[in-house]
Symmetry: C2
Subunit: 235 residues, 2 copies
């Protein structure tokens, strides 16, 4: 009898109690746990409350739920790490560092073939190609290499991208419905090394990101971070 008298009447409390049973292995991986109605009776709350708690835990990957089959403890808890992808400036300033930004180049070009395929663009679609350097406390922090589909965001042509980064401008002025993001490591090119103040060949953390609005490609960017950069989160 862990808790006999005090009842568990809100979903956070239900969640906490279920978590306790998972962590103490009172309910073990693969095991079927009591159904919502039973738990509701045990906890002295409504089924909807139990549902809310179990649903949240299932979203977090700790439980597997299937209609009729019931709820069981996840066998391979695919823990989901959620990374907050925010604007670089906000991230840098959030660490208490000063932020600065320099536009390195800006040109309008026909889309190169591999990119055209990735963005599913037509033949002569013109793209805006930008290169920029983001600085933290005056040091090179990240090199941004970005292609923007000018047809999708015509207003970008009039934007002053020497003061505000395309990153930030797009967040403010163009919304997107979907996107994919990839994380990898790459060796610094001579150019990147110069900008980031490191040796050529140094290991850089790289984020590749492409965003869409419905079927229309908005932008594709490669962000290469200075050595030592670390993207951190809790699970």
């Amino acid at each position: 009898m862990t808790r006999s008298g005090d009842e568990i009447r809100n979903w956070q409390a239900v969640q906490a109690e279920v978590l306790r049973r998972l962590h103490t292995r009172q309910w073990r991986p693969g095991e079927l746990i009591p159904n919502e109605a039973e738990l509701a009776r045990e906890f002295g709350c409504a089924r909807a409350t139990v549902n809310r708690a179990l649903r949240a835990l299932a979203e977090a990957g700790l439980l597997d739920r299937r209609r009729k089959a019931g709820t069981r403890v996840a066998l391979h808890p695919v823990r989901k790490a959620t990374l907050d992808i925010s604007i670089v400036r906000i991230e840098v300033e959030g660490r208490g560092q000063s932020y600065d930004y320099r536009l390195l180049s800006r040109e309008e070009l026909p889309a190169p073939e591999p990119l055209r395929a990735r963005l599913k663009l037509g033949d002569g679609a013109p793209l805006l190609h930008l290169r920029a350097l983001h600085l933290a406390d005056g040091n090179g922090h990240m090199v941004e290499d970005r292609w923007i589909n000018a047809a999708a965001v015509p207003a970008i042509r009039d934007a002053d991208l020497s003061r505000i980064s395309a990153n930030e401008w797009l967040v403010m002025h163009a919304s997107f419905s979907e996107g994919d993001i990839g994380f990898s490591a790459a060796s610094a090119s001579a150019d990147e090394a110069r900008l980031l103040g490191c040796d050529a060949g140094a290991a850089l953390f790289v984020i590749d990101r492409t965003t869409w609005n419905r079927d229309l490609a908005i932008t594709s960017a490669r962000l290469a971070f200075a050595p030592g950069y670390r993207m951190q989160t809790v699970i």
Copy 2:
């Protein structure tokens, strides 16, 4: 067919309609949107249904909600990328590759100072130190360097870690309540290069992970992936 034909009566439909208004910028960043009761009236559904939809969008970072203040479109949509952190074997096999695993070394050592501090361990706490190589299609895929707090998981001493990876054994036999995870890039050491079949100094994608159960440190691991590895997700 309902009377007007286009009523929005379930929370997914409400969410979709709200998303449409966000993407078409009918509701712009920073703007206050109608309250739940009004939307419920407009959509012809219950307030709880609207609540469910808006809450999900707020969790995703697209809306900011505050009691009494109302709901407004997020100014800086901190999109959350959720990464599925699963067992290496499952991930490799999921790509249709064959998986293999080799334990390289296993020794029990007193905790080195920096690690002892990070895991908040006492003085002579003995740790199990493991090094292992994970292979995909016979090629070096990832080098695992792991420290395990033997006091927290005594059963690990009897585990046959030459056949099943510590990664997997721990997922099955030890639960954890919290953890932190960091992503970065690092240059391959001579040893790592030999194991992964790449040049020394090559850029490797690295995951550092430490997990806890309540206040008790369970394990801390560094996973260095072969060049070309890419962690991908959608947002």
